[in-house]
Subunit: 333 residues, 3 copies
């Protein structure tokens, strides 16, 4: 029997998902797959909408902007943070959610169904689909086949664009601007997907990069080359203490023990990437500490009460960014 997939059907680059849409923003009917889709202009648009979303939530809790629309959350691997954030975002816009968020127990898939078939089935019920999948490129495959907008909720070693957007939005909200900032990125810069995506977005602005990682977890060449192409200033060190006094943003990720073949080596370096109250004493008065969470010890709990600890506000921003993106691809903003 034939098992090869045909090419994705040719389709209008603008997917049809509603009446009287806002065509000006450029987001209506579009997929959100990669940070490379974004320009300073459309980031400004999304950030502006996200600020409005925050105002709505703070003032009245929710709006009816997406009343009558349905989001399918298709998570092939569980991610409580991302799925909860999208569910809350859709709910606070008056829409509803089909929550397929348990990953392992995904029945059609266990029966051997292909991703394109699953997506085409779900889009017959829903108006927009968020997909989380362990394989790089899967979100693009879904988008190739779908007639409704696909939002990439993380595709393995690939991208997680809504995370990068909420990270950048947090920097802008906390510090007022992005141009001119000195940004420190700390920890596992090699495998840290969020670091790569945020670094790429920051290349749209005039920033200075300060990378802090163990030798085996340094930033990959492709991301570094993108930065070089933009001629942005870069420093690299092994110890966060060397940069803490100079940066406006300290973006932390976890250095996992499992990355080290020699455990003694891990024990030797791990303290160089830990954020403690003592370290924070050397930091600027106006700067922020960020983390994509979950954390497992890399930021001391004692730092939480420091007003510069922005990671929980960063989480909250995730909901506003996702509200903005959902409203945008459905043509409402």
């Amino acid at each position: 029997m034939a098992t090869t997939e045909s090419k994705a059907p040719a389709k209008d680059s603008r997917k049809k998902v509603g009446l009287a849409p806002n065509l000006d923003s450029g987001f209506y009917g579009q997929d959100i797959i990669s940070v490379s889709q974004f320009t300073r202009e459309n980031l400004e648009h999304i950030f502006g909408v996200a600020e409005e979303m925050r105002a709505i939530v703070k003032r009245v809790g929710s709006s009816d902007l997406l009343k009558g629309t349905v989001l399918a959350c298709l998570f092939y691997e569980p991610s409580t943070r991302t799925s909860s954030s999208f569910i809350a975002a859709m709910s606070r816009l008056g829409g509803t959610v089909i929550p397929i968020t348990q990953g392992v127990q995904f029945s059609s898939v266990s029966k051997g169904e292909s991703l394109p078939d699953t997506v085409r089935t779900l889009e017959s019920y829903a108006d927009v689909i968020v997909i989380r999948h362990p394989e790089m490129g899967s979100a693009q495959t879904a988008a190739d086949y779908a007639q409704k907008p696909i939002i990439n909720g993380g595709d393995g070693a690939g991208e997680h664009p809504t995370q990068a957007l909420l990270d950048l939005f947090t920097i802008k909200e906390e510090l007022g601007q992005i141009d001119g900032l000195s940004v420190g990125m700390v920890g596992d810069l090699r495998f840290g997907r969020t670091v790569h995506s945020l670094a790429r977005l920051l290349c749209l602005y005039d920033v200075q990069f300060n990378f802090v990682a163990p030798e085996i977890l340094r930033l990959p060449l492709d991301v570094m080359n993108e930065i070089r192409k933009r001629n942005l200033p870069v420093t690299e060190t092994y110890d966060v203490a060397e940069i803490v006094a100079d940066v406006d943003v300290l973006y932390i990720t976890r250095v996992q023990k499992e990355r080290f073949s020699d455990l003694a080596q891990y024990e030797e370096v791990k303290d160089l990437y830990a954020i403690t109250p003592e370290l924070m004493e050397k930091a600027k008065e106006k700067m922020i500490v960020m983390h994509p969470l979950p954390r497992v010890g890399e930021i001391s709990y004692a730092v939480d009460s420091d007003p510069r600890a922005a990671y929980f506000r960063q989480m909250e921003n995730g909901m506003y960014i996702r509200m903005a993106l959902l409203a945008a691809v459905l043509g409402k903003v």
Copy 2:
């Protein structure tokens, strides 16, 4: 201690689920357990409502018809397609859903609770219950004990009436009528629950049946006898190529390798049940290919772009049929 279940309590055949209901349709307060409940008249009613539901969804996305009502999706085994379809259907009618859709992790059951107790608990929270259960007869058991309407979402080797309804609705929508059609059913006709239920519904109409299956997967005697009782014309063959030019409907199901004790035998026959572009060249210009999905190779992906490939429209129809049934048993249509 006493563990024998008592008889289900005697109850009004019309369950009470709302005020000022539509009593004319005959569906208000009824359970949907088997295709044998349906007549041409009440199928017409449901199909008419389903068409209205499609119009509402296409025009404005949703209605408030079931605002204030709650559906419990009680899935003892996961079925993403069926549960997603019901969740979307309820959402698009303004109602809400208790999604118990993971099957395995059903806690009360793992504590040994009986099906009647679980159903009676859930109906104290919800207005209507969809139940999916691996055991034949379980949906009827649930209905015997419940005071609120039960919809059978598949009971093992038993029935899956909403699937049969959406299949029949698709034939009517695609081809304009059912009487006079020649229907081919292909693949695993022995264990294919959807084939049995659809064949039974088609016995209400004047159709010709063309069954195509390997010897070991031929249609069971009980279904065949129902067709004979109606004196409807029947053909049986081993090769779909023999009927493809004559049929108006080609309903495909999967021939599973596991059914064959002799694998060589499977390899020998499998191509006789595969739908390819070459095969489709011999089919009528106006006919449809259907499949309950998921498929695993039995329909070539290259067929998807053929306008006669109706299986994704068939999925979408599932949502409209389920909207119609939910509204009907809750007395709104």
Copy 3:
């Protein structure tokens, strides 16, 4: 790296969760962690609201009281009954739910995230959190860190206050009053969390306690001492038949085989705690049988049709109590 948790941040005992709240009830912005928080006065308030909730559900199905608010159901262990009841309660008040109800598959936790971090993340999306966790004290830990109200949905061997409230509400609704009643509690009184919590709440009233349990499952000393402090009359026996004629309430829990090291001992006593139609013949005409469910044989199914069997009405009351509590902590009643 630092892994010790800091102290919970000092915070206003009244959490901020909305505009123009009802401050009079004393529930606005409060956590619901333990039955020890309740007085006769605030129980009366909640019970009055629960009665109104029932009237709303019976009359129109739902209200818009909590429109625009989001509940996070954070279940570290599955509990279909409790989570379904909270989901239905929130839905029938016009709010929405983030359903994290599968326990085992909780992804952030499997990545090693601490409970405080998980709670602080979820409260950035939601307005109120219900938490179910296998460890005693976990709900209080969550409340210590959260800025939004936490409702304890069961913390292991600790408390399950909403269950105790629905139990007490059921007694009041069924029998019209609580003072003056004779209450029998039967079965596993040692490990039965619901028994302990209900007994503590009943200490606010003038009741007589009748405890019936095998020797190894007798009521623990701490609960018994609370009762003694109130000078309430208490009897203890091994056989439910000895008290059945005298009590107004018979609250049954399961005697688990696993509690007995000597199985012969279990077989010897198990019939002393079984509720059968024969036993019910000796009971008062106006009394009720209660059970937190699920049951596994300790109440004969033949008792279900007895009008004194209140356990399914008790389930339904759980939804009204949870509606009342959600509305109360969100400042609406």
